[in-house]
Symmetry: D2
């Protein structure tokens, strides 16, 4: 798949007895790299040193491109936050790369943010009317500025964070580094994931649990929706006052797309394993969209786990039908379209032996524009597949996301433009079925989810935010 | 696994009506990148232009690092050869990067080579005694020099190639580009793979069939062991005189490790699909080393297909138990050993949900030093696996390869030093079984293979070559 | 010399009929590169397009490193500003790289600044007390924030600039780009240079006149101290209200070090050619510090022009005694100190033929630590010079600069620690003389200068600013 | 000027007691970088270690681009040779980058070469007829192959070198590194320069004396034309047998262009200082082409020294009229021709103050195509020069060089196409005079020179070599 993008991953760490957290953050961000590949940044600070002297390094590129041993070695501190970013809107790209850092009366403040605040535009407009000046175009700066402003009226940074988040509507996992503390907050709806890990001399906060093992941290628990975590002197304090934030009536709405596509297979979010959610989706597809076939396969990597689930439920054996060339990366020179279809073959190639003469169930997590799946079906048929039945482990994508997922314009969403039967014809499948919304919800049992992208039921006012 | 390395992949193309084969070779080499990641090179020539004006570009690095659009655009020609290389021995690294190109009385000659000539040292010594001077330290230059010397006494380049190969002992897939022709030869034993593809205006020659789809070429057939292929004016000519080369008594000995590890899953070599050979190996392991377990998994990517075969034969379900982080690449800053075990977690992480409380069959293609598998077993147990049974889809690796595989010193081969039971203890497995040699041979039915690395039965004199 | 650094160069352009000013700014900044080599940036905007959509690109490095053809091609706009920077203090390096850009109620605002505001710390403290939040640590942001804040209370951007600059004390050449205008202001003392150039369809503003020829602009005149220039619709408007700013009692104090060292030889600042100022300094040195010698030479490049002047006044012939190796650049691997003195020889080497047996007058623009000149004298003696008389074309450097020149700590200023006779001995010269302050002033006739670094007479309150 | 290029610089070093000559060579090559900027390479060897194990690193680019600290640190050896190269003809660029290294019966041999062998083509043809095979297209390989072949018939490497050089016709400064020795030979005509330096524990050989100071070596003397130097065990041996080589009748013909343009100003070649030769050329121009003027200036850097000489002889004062921007380097984005003349201004800019209203004598070392000088004259006039008299410190360039200087095709040589008066008009000068050949010879008194590029009198048969 690959046309939907999570916009960020965040990682924070506080170590009481170790001044080299930059390397830790480097490993943590590498484990979260799938959440954003366009920019990366790290800010560290020494809580025992000069008040709030932030060391910040960030740039466009992958974590491994932005940082080298020399850069990391130069960043000394026992507390720090890091960020990987997918894309930025607005012309001033560089200014939006996170962490953002600020200087104000109370010292310094650095911030990273995954998510989107739907009323950020309104808040920003208000602040502008009052004369506020912004450098970034992102909603992250709106939050940071409000926190810094609020700080004058509160006794500590975590109180300022609390007051500000009372006004925020949307999805957010925020890490704020002040001269002495690391503060985290997760939106009261629980739209964006954030979890806590324990290391010998402190704590780790990360978008996904997979980043904890990167620093040998032990998973403690998820941050509760609306909970404010403060780490000071290596100890963790919690404030659950906002957990029943009236802005959202105490309800929760965890982003279901984290399970379908965004999160890493080995992460567990809010008690539910990403792997099992996908596996279950595959199982339910087998029940709601059964088909006679010789084998089940998935589009690597996004469709493999649901394919395994489909196989498990249907009794049709799972097989790898494609080989993925991991050397076709970002610097690969793409073939010109006029010449030939080489591009598709380069990245994924069919294993003829597996598919020849077979009726195939092909699973992917979603169809955005439909071009990739159409090409794969053509390849399978050319390799001798006698039938290709497509099963999609999520419902048709119909509505925009206002909480931080970068989706194509709705004119490009095939499901918005065509009926399922029309899509089937367009992509050349023998049959096509999507996961039913009611089944989707069963993949994350007992967890209230936001599935607005499928059903248009937004858990907050949306303000037509982008 | 990852400690055994194929030393090369070769790709050649002759197009009668198209002067931009450099791009084709770029795609072909990218599809063969798994056969060598340390250096890459392309040489092209215009058969209709000035006699033998070779345009050559090569350097250390991946194909995508060595070439960019500008470089490729500057390489004009309708015939060309390319090479990916794993490693070079000797101090003069750059001089050994292929293609090698030569100027002599008959014009020019460029050559690429996958394999190793066991009597190259002797031939080189002889030639040196006669006064010959070498620039590279590789056996490839020995071959090239002999061909060029021989050319004076033959009517055409293919005859010179034939005469020279009569003396060569070992494994080789050779491509020779002369001003007007592309000549290929495969060693009479068939140790090294080489196949033929057809494009509209010419032919392609490649180490593996997977490289044919990269240029939309249709698979024609494998080059026969000992066969000399000549492409001239876009037409293909064959000479099978050496197919029963007396040097090897007409016998064949296809490298079995191509099927176990080297070749790409979607390639078909000498009529046998790599996928099915690995799948069969897994099936046979299930028969020879049965075990009660809840799930079968494989070490990504090398053990996945055998694991699927084991699952198929045993009825124990196949599951992905590891997530592989594709962002942990060559520039990743590795954690220092003293600090922690982060490195293992970074590249592969266990999907706890899958393994918790489960008895697991873990499949890999081989054990070289034993450290990686030991780490993975530790990770599985930590994630709650109640038992870990290791099955290896090849026999114990006991003997050096003299035909072009770069293997560790035998003092580092765990199977050379310890009994299977000792290895089991060292890696911490509940049980350990290897594929039996007799079963290995069944994975490539009717194909005479070289399995010298397992049984020490070398198909040629070895001369203690390295 | 090379231990004193100007901190910045600015360049702005407004073209009514051309949307590719990014290239112009690239050329302009390249001509100003001597004013700052650590970072560079360009911001452009389309005055006829969407309101204030700034396109900004900046990074650490030389102009030619930060920008390539692709980057420039992507920056469309008919108005723009650029900046080269020497160094940044504070930990958050990246955030200080200019242009800085801001979003606020009135649209956008981008700013570049050469100079230093001595009361910036006080202004910042005040603003912080009122709750203001900063991202950069530089005084540039203080100015920008104040302008943006002020803009709410004024009818146009130039009025806001005017109101803000009324409070600023120090040296500054500021360019402010608003959605429709390019505004420039020079500090009322004229400490920092800024001039106006005319191109067919608009105007150029640059730190030095040498940058005008880079874009084929014709020199119009210098911006007057305290003058505010506004370019709108390709037309230039001026406001001289602040030219007699009461903050400095209408007096002027042009930085004399621009003439001695900073500015490019081919620039004319405030009507005085840098070349002639240096030539005159050399002439006066010949009068105040005469000596019998066979030839006059200068340390390349900084001392060459004064040497020519000394030669002219003394009648002693000028000769090039050193060859400068232009390949010893930033990536050159410096020899370790323990091993040998290679470093000195690498960059500058004596032309033995010129100096052998000769009594030499060696001119440089200043002595900071004294190590370089000592090495050069040693080299000259080793090459056979019979006497080396050092003449410095500026007075001894004794006081810190508060207006934007990055000078070493006073503990490192040799003239602060030692008498002239002691310095002479330390550097090993036969005689040593500095330019007298009264003579220095004659090098810029009729121009009131700031020579605080020599005499400690600061033209403003200094507040111990850094 | 800048359109004539020397093709190479060589540097060799033998240290008895130090295993890190790679750094030394790095410094030496940096000092010789002006002799070639397209490729660089170093080969080192340990004379006390394994027999002839060469460590070689080379690539396209400047010395500082090809080598970094890590590369150098990995090159261990007490003897080594290095090379900087200007350009390569032929398609196989990489294969020609030096040092070239070879393996043969007697061990190894590495070679670097500055110059051109006019009968290399004939020798190569002969060798090819005998079956020899070449990898490079350069004449350097022809020499190397002959030496290696010859070595079988001689008792030591220096004898082989001697035998081979007996057959070579042309200009060459050759360094040959064998497992135990460093051998140097200079062509019997002395066309190419080569000198000897002494360091505490060994010797240095370099194209120019300026490279000696880069490693703190003391100048010993020039290698005599035809002399063979052998360094073994840190001691220097000489063989002058070929000094009166019959191939050139014992005559000498030192390349006069080394003095005019190629060599560095601070070098002394064959007893004559490059500086003084250029200074003398300027003096003689003043006598042969006197003119009334207000000042003399030179095109930086090539014309400055002759300008000083002209000033000295004529009494007209020397002034710097141009500022050269050292930041306009290889990665500078050049302005498109259509747009404007910015390119000229970027690199060199007139110092108006100096030239306004003045009659100027403008000196350069040569005119190749005439475009640059024409642009400079336009700039001078635009800046107010009332007259521009051009004086060229060499005679008109009329004949190709067969000894290693890369000159434009004669159709591009302005002096070949037009009379002096026509050239004067084309470049827009008020008067134009060249140095007379008889005067040129006076600039290198008592030194027999090759001035074939001016008078067509080649000191050897030329064979229409290229």
């Amino acid at each position: 798949m690959g046309s939907l993008h999570e916009e960020c991953g965040v990682f924070g760490i506080f170590r009481q007895a170790h001044a080299d957290v930059a390397h830790d953050i480097y490993y943590g961000l590498t484990a979260l790299q799938h959440r954003g590949q366009e920019a990366a940044g790290i800010a560290v600070c020494d809580t025992m040193g000069e008040r709030g002297n932030i060391c910040l390094h960030k740039n466009m590129g992958l974590v491994s491109e932005v940082f080298n041993e020399e850069t990391l070695a130069g960043m000394k501190g026992n507390v720090g936050i890091g960020h990987v970013r997918y894309s930025t809107s607005g012309g001033s790209v560089t200014e939006n790369v996170q962490p953002l850092s600020y200087h104000y009366l109370k010292g310094t403040l650095a911030i990273v943010h995954n998510g989107n605040i739907v009323n950020a535009g309104r808040l920003k407009e208000e602040m502008m009317k009052e004369g506020e000046v912004f450098r970034a175009t992102s909603d992250t700066e709106v939050i940071a500025m409000r926190i810094a402003r609020m700080r004058a009226h509160t006794s500590c940074i975590e109180e300022a964070v609390k007051e500000v988040t009372k006004e925020l509507l949307g999805g957010y996992a925020l890490l704020v580094m002040s001269p002495r503390k690391l503060v985290a907050i997760r939106d009261p709806l629980g739209l964006k994931p954030l979890c806590i890990g324990k290391i010998t001399d402190g704590y780790v906060l990360a978008s996904e649990s997979c980043a904890l093992s990167a620093v040998d941290a032990e998973f403690v628990r998820d941050v509760k929706p609306g909970e404010i975590i403060t780490i000071r002197n290596g100890k963790l304090f919690t404030d659950e006052t906002l957990c029943n934030n009236t802005l959202c009536n105490g309800s929760q709405a965890h982003c279901v797309f984290e399970y379908i596509y965004f999160a890493r297979l080995d992460s567990v979010l809010d008690g539910i394993s990403v792997y099992s959610a996908r596996f279950q989706a595959g199982r339910m597809l087998a029940e709601s969209g059964p088909v006679e076939a010789d084998l089940v396969t998935g589009v690597p990597e996004s469709g493999l786990t649901a394919a395994a689930g489909f196989a498990d439920a249907s009794g049709i054996p799972f097989m790898h039908a494609f080989h993925k060339n991991s050397y076709v990366g970002r610097t690969f020179i793409k073939p010109t379209q006029q010449e030939r279809q080489t591009g598709v073959h380069m990245k994924l190639n069919v294993i003829t032996e597996v598919v020849k003469g077979k009726r195939i169930v092909l699973i992917d997590d979603s169809i955005v524009r439909g071009t990739t799946i159409a090409n794969l079906i053509t390849m399978l048929r050319k390799a001798g597949a006698s039938a290709v039945h497509v099963r999609i482990s999520s419902p048709p994508f119909l509505y925009p996301c206002y909480y931080g997922t970068d989706v194509p314009d709705s004119t490009q969403l095939i499901a918005k433009q065509f009926s399922i039967e029309e899509i089937r014809k367009k992509i050349g499948a023998d049959s096509l079925a999507y996961l039913r919304i009611e089944d989707l919800k069963k993949t994350t049992p007992d967890l209230p989810v936001c599935s607005a992208c499928f059903d248009g039921k937004y858990p907050t006012e949306t303000y037509d935010a982008k």
